[in-house]
Amino acid sequence: MELYEGACELKLLQTLEGHTDRVWSLVWNPATGTAETPLVFASCSGDKTVRIWEQNPSPSSSSSSHSSWNCKAVLEDTHTRTVRSCSWSPSGKLLAVASFDATTSIWENVGGDFECVSTLEGHENEVKSVSWNASGTLLATCGRDKSVWIWEAQPGNEFECVSVLQGHSQDVKMVLWHPTLDVLFSCSYDNTVKVWADDDDDWQCVQTLGEPNNGHSSTVWALSFNKTGDKMVTCSDDLTLKIWEMDSTSMQSADGYAPWRHLCTITGYHDRTIFSVHWSSEGIIASGAADDAIRFFVEDKDGLVDGPSYKLLLKEEKAHGMDINSVQWSPGEKRLLASASDDGTIKIWELASLCTGNGY
């Protein structure tokens, strides 16, 4: 059943404190949230640490609103500067951590506690984002040195540099692998999103989504794919969200790469930089911005007359005391959202629909 405006509310379940500086980003462990494994996510901060948070399984009732969260582990004394982002391997066993100290560390979950099993060096300075591909064989990093690096996991936590991609003209803010294909997306201070694909071990920029093709007019901070991976949303300093669509029809013969085209632009909602956007498995786009607000968008099925459009589902003013740096939907069936902010806190929200049953 469809979600429609006013049909749902955002409930704050808990505010997590612990970081002593702004929280840059958080990421859910994809392998959790099932019946036997409680939800887990990692958050990283300007205090140079990563914190692992776990949901207390609440025996009383299934509703997560009663269950509380606490900090399982603190990953510290490895990075000497801000930890900017991290990424779980699909298995949920490994956590890759990118730091301003120019290194990327790999942590392995050994029976609950985490140990640093490898450190990737190569970037000249701040590493700003890291991402595992769907199969967990490839790891991508990017940073201020304008380069994107692709690493291949070797047995024994060895990592081999597959390729160093130069193409962006400014520092690269985020890298993200396509949910199914081995195609890498990077977005940058140079206002573009670049798409990288390889033909046998030789990685090339196969597409650049910039202003000419309805791209963003300022720094692109983040991007996210819908469940199936045929749509992508990007957010930017230009205060807009843009929806992109994989154009399977004009499939480029050779490497079976399908180009992306601009579908629509969600504009006029945010009045400061949008730092984070995340597309839920059920199609709700959450965005977090420097205006301290969290917003939710869903596709507007009625307005198909002139192409697909997206409408504001819900808006949470003053969700945090300061900028919101990251919003992430949890795995599992509950509509849980975690948000991280400059105010040093992480908040766990539940998007509850007022009407009976939940979408899909």
Partner: protein
Amino acid sequence: MEETEDMFESSLNLEEIHFKEGYAEGYGHGLDQGKEEGQQVGLKVGFEAGEELGFYRGCIIVWNSVIQVDPTRFSDRVQKMIKQMDELVAKYPVMDPENESIQEVMDGLRLKFRAVCATLNVKLEYIGYPKTAQDSEF
């Protein structure tokens, strides 16, 4: 008639003559100076390029000799990258400074070199390497 013109010509064109002389003089002087400076610059740039190129060449030779001793020591990918570097070095138009491919080749080399180092986890760095990040930048 002509004679009269003749006899005055020199005095009439006096300015022009002086201008020409001055110009020629200056031009010649500039030419020498320019050559001089150009040579200096050339020497400097050439030396730098050569030095960096040599550095990479050295690394490649060492790595290759390792591979000869133990072909399994490096992964195929690394070996491939070393090979690519080798080609790039060879490809570098040492004798043809005018060639516009110079920068491209050098960048490629640097990139590959860093990739190899990263993979081998060795902290090798060419000292003269132009760092992009100066202290007062961010």
